[in-house]
């Protein structure tokens, strides 16, 4: 903390600041809001908080450029170019992140939102934004800056709306990279090396992270971002057919698990929502004591952010060596007796391999359908985040145990004690 303070003092020494009291108040209020939000958030809701933090950062960068423009007015060409870049990128990151937040917080639908003529409108807005930017550089006028700000905000919204829930993590990462670039550009505007370096670091690392994640989802970034433009609006929604499913009791499940040789647990976001990580760990420990081989299979996009599930399980003190990544665990399913899927759906949906019309087609999945028996703990037959029906649910070797993941797991644990 002392080092930080020293840096801050050194940073501002020699610069005369007006409005110091007001600045300190704003700084204090912002810090308190940020710290409280970060302390209070549940780990399950953390991705949307990160999205929100990212958004306000982008907004701050855009505002910095606007104020610098108002105070110093028309300077040289480079200054104007970077001001425009900061405003556009910052504003897009801001409004895009807010929409992402709304999607993840489920304040709006997490399905892709396809507005009529969405693609042409979005492209038009993008062109108008760029054209406005060029115009502002050549002929700086105040109203133009306001218009540019509005257009950029609109573009951010249009750009995130059609992205499906399952792809939102990639978008968070991309917007994060964009905010980084906006901050870097604002560093150029202010002739400030610290902002330039920090912003560029985030921009570069964010871009790489985004590509890595798109690769983990098994398709190019462009199809993630623009996929919904081409897909039919209705194609994504489950058809709700009345095929028979086999549901079992907690006792059945306990017997299956207790007498198996090898069990793989597939935790999904539903597990986290039910706060059942600890109960699952308890179950895993009991099975291990009985001599059952237990592993956790973690899909790279399990949860709402890459690596999110690892954080959640780490919170529940699950031993690290039991967490297996997808490539490592997939060959193991065929020699596994029982797979227990808790609150996951899309990441085990074979439609990703077989159904070319599915929005998740091409995404690498955990091949749970290769196991001898599959048990799903589910709240209902409702399809997952991506809104697609899962054929494994109707497979004769699949047993469903309906109910809240935590209740179900607690019952299974209780039954297991009696076996």
């Amino acid at each position: 903390m002392g080092a930080v303070l020293a840096t801050v003092v050194l940073f501002f020494s020699g610069i005369e600041l007006l409005n110091l009291t007001l600045i300190l108040i704003a700084l204090a209020v912002g810090s308190v809001i940020g710290a409280i939000a970060a302390r209070k958030v549940k780990m399950t809701a953390m991705p949307q908080l990160v999205a929100l933090f990212n958004g306000v950062g982008g907004g701050a960068a855009a505002l910095v450029a606007v104020v610098e423009y108002m105070v110093h007015g028309e300077a040289d060409l480079l200054f104007l170019i970077f001001t425009v870049a900061t405003v556009i990128i910052g504003a897009v990151a801001f409004s895009g992140s807010i929409v992402t937040y709304l999607k993840l917080q489920e304040l709006m639908t997490s399905r892709p939102v396809v507005i009529p003529l969405g693609a042409p409108i979005t492209i038009l807005v993008a062109i108008a934004t760029l054209a406005g930017g060029v115009w502002l550089v050549l002929d700086p006028q105040d109203w133009l800056l306001v218009a540019l700000l509005a257009l950029s905000l609109l573009f951010g919204v249009l750009f995130v709306l059609p992205v499906g829930g399952a792809d939102v993590p990639i978008v968070i990462s991309l917007l994060n990279a964009m905010t980084g670039l906006a901050v870097a550009a604002s560093g150029y505007v202010l002739d400030n090396v610290l902002l330039l370096i920090a912003g560029t670091l985030v921009g570069a690392s964010g871009t790489l992270l985004t590509t890595l994640m798109a690769k983990a989802m098994g398709r190019p970034l462009t199809s993630t971002l623009f996929g919904a433009f081409t897909a039919k609006a209705t194609g994504a929604v489950g058809t709700g057919e009345d095929r028979p499913v086999r549901s079992g009791s907690a006792n059945d499940v306990a017997i299956m698990l207790g007498f198996a040789n090898k069990v793989i647990l597939v935790p999904g976001y539903g597990l986290a929502v039910a706060q059942a990580q600890n109960t699952l760990r308890e179950l895993a420990e009991m099975l291990t004591e009985r001599g059952v081989e237990v592993d956790y299979a973690i899909h790279p996009v399990a949860g709402r952010m890459p690596g999110h599930m690892n954080v959640l399980l780490a919170e529940a003190n699950v031993p690290y060596d039991q967490l297996k990544e997808m490539d490592e665990i997939n060959p193991e399913f065929s020699s596994t007796d029982v797979v227990l899927v808790v609150g996951a759906n899309d990441v085990v949906n074979p439609a990703a391999r077989t159904d070319k019309t599915a929005p998740i087609y091409g995404m690498p999945i955990l091949n749970v359908d290769a196991a001898q028996q599959v048990v799903f703990l589910k709240r209902s037959m409702r399809p997952g985040f991506a809104g697609i029906e899962n054929a494994v649910l109707f497979d004769p070797k699949t047993t469903l145990l309906f109910g809240d993941a935590k209740d179900s797991l607690t019952k299974v644990v209780a039954s297991l004690k009696n076996i």
Partner: protein
């Protein structure tokens, strides 16, 4: 500082950014993203500088808003990253102790 120097720094920073991320395991991608998110909260410094030069009311208000938002980004980002990393820490020590006993 002249444009060439800034450009050089820009390019070098890109390399460092790539280098850093490519070494981090997928397991830690969430804290990594959150940490990167916190780093660009440094924009609050820029916000303080511009607000410090604002003499009229409108730029002052916008500048203060930028300071507020930047501070939320910076402080909130670091706190949440810290909370996450904290969860990965204790297990390492537990494992280390178990290792010692074995």
């Amino acid at each position: 500082m002249d444009g060439m120097a800034l450009l050089t720094i820009f390019v070098l920073s890109i390399f460092v950014g790539f280098e850093v991320v490519s070494k981090v395991s997928a397991v830690l991608h969430t804290p990594l993203m959150s940490g990167a998110n916190a780093i660009h909260g440094i924009v609050v410094m820029g916000a303080i500088i511009v607000t410090g030069t604002a003499e009229d009311l409108l730029p002052l208000i916008l500048g203060l808003l930028a300071v507020l938002l930047g501070a939320i980004n910076l402080v909130g980002g670091f706190v949440v990253t810290d909370r996450m990393l904290e969860m990965f820490k204790p297990k390492k020590t537990v494992k280390a102790i178990e290792g010692d006993q074995a």
